[in-house]
Amino acid sequence: MSAWLTVWGLLPVLLGGAVITLEVTAGAFALATLIGVTFAILQRLELRPLRFAIATYVDVFRAVPVLTQLFIIYFGLTEIGIRLDPVPSAIIGFGIYGGAYLTEVFRAGIESIHHGQIEAAQMLGMTRLAALRIVILPQAVRVVLPPLGNFAIGLLKDTALASAVAAPELMFQARTLVDKTFLATQIFVTAAAIYLAMSLPLGYLTRLAEARLSRGRR
């Protein structure tokens, strides 16, 4: 019982780590979404070199473990004089890695919208890019919300890997505390409970957003 009381006293440290976890998750999610949306749209513009470049990015960054990418960003870039702090390294690493996934997710979302929609928009005088942005993307977002929600929850958990580059997120703090207190079970169970407390609302938010965006549809 006294072990749990000790962990209770250490809770602020773990919660501080959870805040960093949320920061990395939010930052990487925003970056990955930006990359995913932009590249998915650019892929539809039928410019061959651009399509090839984006396809190569997706293939490469999906194929290399995110931990390897984090090490390259955090340690490898110092070779060329770029030194990033752990948290920005993690945001960039997860963002670029996630961007490769989300490019595919948004591509599939855009492709699921009937071709007649883009033609109708073009016949209103929109360029292809404007039609994609104004008419197709808002519809595609509905389609990709479930995989996007899954991605966000997965990302939240994967940020534990950022402890490997010394980002002081939840798992980093948990491991540090275990090293000091040897209360492995209590501390990791508490960390698990905090992850759960952060993940569950994400799932709820996704369903809420789906319900909101399905206005006008059954």
Binding site: M123, L124, R142, G216
Partner: protein, 274 residues
């Protein structure tokens, strides 16, 4: 409206296709089509399925790029421009600029499902013509009134019948104040009892003097509304002429055969027990 380019009394030519050919793989869908439509003229295009009617309309809108030949709208070629004496492909933005003056009504309506009827009609004016919401909304409501659907302004397409969706789609096109309207089998996807309401809206547009290119299977409507009927088969214009003449005494055997088949079918629908 007429620009008087020709210097004659007849209205100027608004749409012209010259040697228009479209090939999909090994198949020639359009073969050497020469067609002119004057300002204010209503031209109905009829013919069997696969005759190239829809492809012709899509080439006029430049949704398909011709394999050879060209389409000119108001004397300006769509898709290509002359730069230093050589024809170059237009940019997407330039083509979009020409399309802004062409309304197109699709067989499947293609309303934007995430927007209400009103928002569908307002989208072109606000995003393309850069009108403010305050300017665009009364215009859009007026157009919904014109097609008899002002009371459905707040409804999403899914809550509208096919006929209502198609009327919203017509209002959406009109919101861009086009000089030409293209109708691609606008009633083919509708239940029979909903066809009349769409045709009535199209009749109203014709009365207002809109230039219309209408691909249709509604022969009576074509006869009533069109100034000229074009019969197509196997990618060619087989025969064209004044509606009463073409429907009553077609000169080409293929036109005769097609019209006989259609008339027989309509007669069967009207007298199913006989």
């Amino acid at each position: 409206m007429a620009s008087g380019r020709t210097g004659e009394d007849a209205p100027a030519v608004l749409v012209q296709t010259v040697g228009l050919t479209k090939r999909f793989g090994e198949i020639d869908v359009l073969k050497d089509i020469d067609l002119s439509v004057r300002v204010g003229e209503k031209v109905a295009i009829i013919g069997p399925s696969g005759s190239g009617k829809t492809t012709l309309l899509r080439c006029v809108a430049h949704l398909e790029r011709p394999t050879s030949g060209y389409v000119a709208i108001g004397g300006e070629r769509i898709g290509d421009k002359l730069v230093n004496g050589r024809w170059r492909e237009m940019s997407d933005r330039e083509i979009a600029g020409i399309r802004a003056g062409i309304g197109m009504v699709f067989q499947r309506f293609n309303l934007f499902p995430h927007l209400t009827a009103l928002e569908n009609v307002m989208l072109g004016p606000t995003h393309v013509l850069k009108r403010s919401r305050a300017e665009a909304e009364p215009l859009a409501r007026g157009l919904l009134r014109k097609v008899g659907l002002e009371h459905k302004a707040a409804d999403y397409p899914e809550r509208l019948s096919g006929g209502q969706q198609q009327r919203v789609a017509i209002a959406r096109s009109l919101a861009m104040q086009p000089r030409l309207m293209l109708f691609d089998e606008a009633t083919s996807a509708l239940d029979p009892e909903l066809i009349g309401e769409v045709l009535n809206v199209m009749r109203g547009l014709a009365r207002d003097g809109m230039t219309m290119l209408i691909v249709t299977h509604e022969m009576r409507f074509a006869e009533d509304v069109a100034d000229r009927v074009v019969f197509m088969d196997h990618g060619r214009i087989v025969e064209e002429g004044e509606p009463h003449r073409l429907f009553r005494s077609p000169s080409h055997p293929r036109t005769q055969a097609f019209l006989h088949a259609v008339v027989d079918r309509e007669a069967m629908i009207e007298a199913p027990t006989s």
